[in-house]
Symmetry: C2
Subunit: 320 residues, 2 copies
Amino acid sequence: MIVLTREQIEQLIDIPKSVLEIEEAYRATSAGRVNLPPVGHITFPELEADCHIKYGHALGSPIFVIKIATGFPKNVDTEYPTGSGVNVVMSAQTGQVEAVLYDEGMLTDVRTGLGGAIATRLLARRDSKRVLIIGTGRQARYQIESHVAVMGPNLQFQVWGRLSERADSVVNEMSKICSIERVDDLESSVRDADIIVTITGSTIPLVLSDWVKPGTHITAVGADAPGKQELEVALVEKADVLVADHIEQCVDHGEISRFVQTDDTRKSTIVELGQVLNNAKLGRRNDSQITIADQTGIAACDIAISQSVLNSWTKNLNKT
Amino acid sequence: MIVLTREQIEQLIDIPKSVLEIEEAYRATSAGRVNLPPVGHITFPELEADCHIKYGHALGSPIFVIKIATGFPKNVDTEYPTGSGVNVVMSAQTGQVEAVLYDEGMLTDVRTGLGGAIATRLLARRDSKRVLIIGTGRQARYQIESHVAVMGPNLQFQVWGRLSERADSVVNEMSKICSIERVDDLESSVRDADIIVTITGSTIPLVLSDWVKPGTHITAVGADAPGKQELEVALVEKADVLVADHIEQCVDHGEISRFVQTDDTRKSTIVELGQVLNNAKLGRRNDSQITIADQTGIAACDIAISQSVLNSWTKNLNKT
């Protein structure tokens, strides 16, 4: 059994390659080529904390992956990071444990960031410039990094958070790689944005329908468990194009779950990210449409990035 | 993050202590003191193989556990064992990874064996002597060891398997610790047995209702996933006492699942092992009753044995 630490894994990640592999994971998922059982979930209500267990098997692959990732937001006031985890890589041929990638949640952060940026690039207007990041946690930083990596250096970022000092921290760290400023007036920043990325643990809508102008794209990443919500349902109703990373997961616990709850037939209006990657006509069709990508995070991406890290590790081994 | 290998873990297991801890896990489960989400399950149909992910949190415990265990029966013809796995121990206070117990499935084997023996001791007639083991895999050996450890050395074992050479292997290995012989006539051995332990991957009934005499106890361990079955439904119907390690799991995919499928009200006739441990009157009431214990295996026992191993490891560390 191979055990790789976070430091080792960081050295092995190849972002441009991972973008292609994660896109392929979305395509394979939407084509039914990945066995993705329902996500496991355990909660720790007193700490408002939880743990997700995402697992699956890309059909034909020699491995399968079980990804364990925790979210303990109250750690923010302690010495511990607010999330951790491991990716366990198993042989799909013999059932033996191949590797434990002790990434402390980093691979989840990377694939979530890249997944968000892939969705944004696919669905936002070509002339988009202003990106409003709503949220100031660890994943806010990964979203910014990934959007720069996937869409280039010309985006102008704004960041909003409930606590202005946390938004300042994001600005301080990220100004090394992009143009970024803190904003305090959420409504007017939403009105001005071309692209909005929501990445909070909110359970009440932060972005209201009336604020969002035609042509805006929204990548909603925060809602990854029942009860979480960042967008007003009226905004989801107003959107012209609704894209889910995985329809079943998003209907169960994503941003669009409330939209479908009130009317089950609405499910048929949603397309999957992998379908849009295959056929751009299923995405944005003109510059005045509002598009929303609901990203709950899928095991197919955990498999892709774990496989990628292990491949790099094996390749390096063979070199030495 | 602590990583312990199978060899290290073997040194740290204390069987008599584990028996008490596993009994307590059953009690806590039946008293609603363990958060046990539904078991995760992924299958590899071409290999007739699968992987279970069992996880949960004993309320108030500083840790929670995610247990990954595979069953790849076709490995029997290869260099690999037919199962493997890891127990991942996480902090329930900070969400950090505390330990990876790379037990290769051994902790599952140990707690499954002990769970079976605990159920047998609780439910079999006091004067039981003849134990018929149906199955010749790895877990058959653990069931024998555990029954000897929990019930003493005076039991007389018989072992039956589809392939007589595999039954002979069990006899050869286990004759060091108990009286044991191979049997070839399943029906007459069932008729003679006081205790029957079924531990196969069968999907068709092996033990028929007419064969089982009054007073027999059956511990059914094999059925741990939908589609598996070792006992004729008529036998489950005939039983006077039906005990499940976890009613919801057993109704979903245990030996008794078919019994309940045809008539949902039958669920109310089942008691949980933890309830019987607390109140013996819920178990066998006389020597002519037929009792069945359906053991699907619960995360509470994985938590108990993982905690026990980690406690021993910490204790040893402090000594040195």
